[in-house]
């Protein structure tokens, strides 16, 4: 049995396009002298021709036309169906988009309401009353209720729940921030003369360095003669020294430095302050301090001074008992 040509595989490789260029030319030159390769090439071509020659049934023109008609009709029906489907899909998408947009609008509105709700729900109530001749303005901003007090006495009653706008009183020499209270601010000659707190807490920030929180019953008064700041502790405090007959000054130590506790009785006597004023309160508290200190004589004397200054005072009945040294 003779060996077949070792290059016979190249015949199929050339037929399949695996062998190109110089290799192909080299094989074609080889094939001229190689019987095996020539026969292989002929056999492959003959196989292809034989299969290609296989009858596939007569091509019936009528059958082809019928098939064409069928293909076109079905394609047309499918295209119409696709168009209907597309239109339906577009309509559904439109509805979905509209629903989504509506949902988005509702959600946005809800979120906005939720954000604004605390402010909307929290009602800030500020009742501002200026005494005759007081120059002041009021401005409502998104986060601040701003009062500008240029001169005079302004009383504010603030009901400020958590989350409500801040309440700020701008005075020529600083600002006073309310933290939910009833308080009174007095400005004289372009400077804050006095801040009294009846209820709650007020933060006083002045340019000359004053930065204090005044609690209920406390007030701050500017010293008229010297720019020493004093804090009147209308509430209970610890006096170091008390002048009994002439209610003047007692020294205490506060967090901000030297302050004074003012009995507040000289002023009413001199200027006849109104009933219910902070001076009246101070005079009353002064009496209490003296009583707590066990200085009953001085307290009795202070009570008499109170009664003389405020014959129609709110604590007249109690002070009367002190003046008469009658136990409660």
């Amino acid at each position: 049995m003779s060996e077949r040509c070792p290059r016979i595989w190249e015949v199929e490789a050339i037929r399949d396009g695996r062998l190109r260029g110089e290799s192909r030319l080299a094989h074609e030159r080889h094939r001229e002298s190689c019987e095996d390769c020539r026969q292989e090439a002929q056999a492959l071509a003959a196989l292809a021709e034989r299969v290609g020659r296989m009858p596939t049934g007569a091509t019936d023109d009528l059958g082809l036309r019928r098939l064409r008609q069928c293909v076109l009709e079905r394609a047309d029906a499918e295209a119409s169906g696709r168009k209907r489907h597309t239109r339906r899909r577009i309509a559904l998408l439109g509805i979905a988009a509209a629903l989504f947009a509506a949902l988005l609008i509702v959600t946005t509105a809800w979120i906005r309401n939720a954000r604004e709700a605390p402010i909307a729900r929290v009602d800030l109530v500020v009742v501002a009353t200026g005494e005759p001749g007081t120059r002041w303005t009021r401005t409502t901003e998104s986060s601040v209720e701003r009062f500008r007090l240029n001169d005079g006495v302004l009383s504010l009653r603030v009901e400020r729940p958590a989350g409500a706008r801040r309440v700020l009183v701008e005075v020529p020499d600083g600002e006073i921030e309310d933290l939910g209270t009833t308080f009174r601010v007095e400005v004289r000659g372009g400077k804050t003369a006095r801040v009294g707190v009846q209820q709650g807490i007020v933060r006083v920030r002045l340019r000359d360095g004053v930065a204090i929180d005044l609690k209920e019953g406390e007030s701050w008064t500017r010293e008229p003669a010297q720019p020493v700041l004093s804090v009147e502790h209308n509430a209970v405090s610890t006096p170091v020294e008390v002048a009994s007959a002439a209610p003047s000054v007692s020294q205490i130590h506060s967090g901000t430095g030297v302050s004074r506790v003012d009995a507040g009785t000289a002023a009413p006597a001199a200027s006849g302050p109104a009933v219910g004023s902070p001076e009246e309160d101070a005079a009353y508290l002064r009496i209490l301090e003296l009583l707590r200190a066990g200085r009953r004589d001085a307290a009795r004397e202070a009570a008499r001074v109170y009664l003389a200054a405020y014959p129609a005072g709110f604590r007249r009945a109690e002070v009367q008992r002190v003046a008469e040294d009658t136990p409660r």
Binding site: E12, D16, G17, R18, R20, G21, A43, L44, L47, A48, R50, V51, G52, M54, P55, T56, G57, A58, T59, G63, L64, L67, R68, C70, V71, L72, R74, A75, D76, E78, A79, R82
Partner: protein, 194 residues
């Protein structure tokens, strides 16, 4: 050294492909283009289908092929081969799907105990002995080998084009071709010996 790159794909976008504008029109919804495509390729596709599948299925295969082409014409990419090659690729896919469903049906009927005879060329009147032998030899090939052989050796596509339209590596096309030739020669050589 500059090496010249050989032109691998017949009917590549470099050549004028008469089918490309027709497929584009079809892709944009012009059904007249489907008629034009049918007139141009239906007879050859019908022959291809008759060689590849049971005789009576050929018309269904061609119809399904053109309907599918009308649906997916917008996705045709000329860079991947000629319009004709793409068309045959769709037909090959239809054939494969049909073959699978037929196989399922055959298995189901076999379980029921019925002998299923799928009509082929021998059932077709007017065919000679050689045609029957060739048809039987083709029938013995796997569907993948048969389609590859017919696309390359009968329809004249290059191996690269067949690789593109069937979505298989070119090495697979070469292998399938080699085995198809060997098996066909073995069967048809026996027939000749008889």
């Amino acid at each position: 050294m500059i090496r010249k790159v050989p032109q691998l794909v017949r009917g590549s976008p470099i050549d004028e492909d008469p089918d490309e504008p027709v497929i584009r029109r079809l892709g944009s919804g012009d059904l007249d283009a489907l008629g034009a495509l049918y007139d141009r390729h239906a007879p050859a596709l019908l022959r291809f289908a008759r060689r590849s599948a049971p005789f009576d299925d050929a018309q269904d295969i061609v119809q399904t092929t053109f309907l599918r082409v009308s649906r997916i014409a917008a996705r045709y990419d000329p860079a991947r081969g000629s319009g004709r090659a793409w068309l045959y690729g769709v037909a090959a896919q239809v054939l494969r799907e049909r073959r699978r469903s037929m196989a399922r049906l055959t298995r189901m009927l076999a379980r029921l105990g019925d002998a299923v005879s799928i009509p082929r060329a021998e059932d077709t009147p007017g065919q000679g002995d050689d045609a029957v032998a060739v048809d039987q030899a083709l029938d013995r090939l796997s569907e993948a080998k048969r389609v590859t052989f017919l696309l390359v050796e009968v329809e004249g596509f290059s191996c690269e084009e067949v690789s593109n339209v069937l979505g298989v590596p070119i090495g697979t096309v070469w292998t399938r071709l080699h085995h198809a030739r060997r098996e066909l020669r073995a069967v048809l050589g026996e027939e000749q010996a008889k």
